[in-house]
Symmetry: C2
DNA sequence: AAGATCCATAACCAGAAAGTTATGGATTTA
DNA sequence: TAAATCCATAACTTTCTGGTTATGGATCTT
């Protein structure tokens, strides 16, 4: 199985980090400074969160002069979607199997 | 906005706990003892994880004599699906907006 | 060139969290 | 009734993690 969901879940588990990612999704590319302003934490904390998001593939960075622009990379959420539908799928399969069983018993 | 995704992400971030949930999804209802066997951790640890999963609404428990049966509640994953598609949606909206802008400029 | 700004990294601290062993209540078995 | 089994909780330890302040390199401004 892919180890991808693990890193994604761990990365998105922190509220501050997830809020940063959400802002990037909603509002598009932002500099570290802009993100820091409404994050409620210090600039180094934001930088660290951005590093974690980047390592999980959830954001990209683009250097421009002395500032760094970050943007969301929502395709990185795909393993999460896959995992979720897989879980739902297992569930559904077992329901189907039960259904089949009941039908055969009914005959 | 709903605080639901937060608890879900936090709960599913732990690999051991997620593995337990996955097994319940794949194989259906299990007792604590059965889950403990292939979990790699002690029985109290499994009980604690099951408690966390239950609090997040991801599992149900059913008492039968001295054993407790747990089963997955995959509907609890819905807020996760919602959150994910919302993020993807924001992204798409911004792409559309950009597209519109370019079209208008093109005129 | 000097000063200011932006950001990343280092070093450190405190609280959260996952694991353990010990224990006890409830139920089943002998 | 006595012993064994199942599970949850308590108490404790250790590790991980998110936060801070301090600092420095790079770039922009004056």
């Amino acid at each position: 199985m892919s180890a991808a969901p693990d890193l994604l879940f761990r990365t998105l588990a922190d509220p501050t980090r997830r809020a940063i990612f959400e802002r990037l999704c909603r509002e598009g590319e932002q500099t570290v400074g802009a993100l820091t302003l409404r994050s409620g934490v210090s600039q180094p904390a934001v930088s660290k969160h951005l590093g974690a998001l980047k390592q999980a593939g959830l954001v990209r960075d683009r250097h421009e002069g002395r500032q760094t622009h970050y943007s969301a990379q929502p395709g990185a959420l795909n393993p999460l979607v896959d995992w979720t539908s897989q879980m739902a799928g297992f569930w559904q399969n077992r329901l189907d199997a039960l259904d089949d069983l009941l039908k055969r018993m009914d005959q």
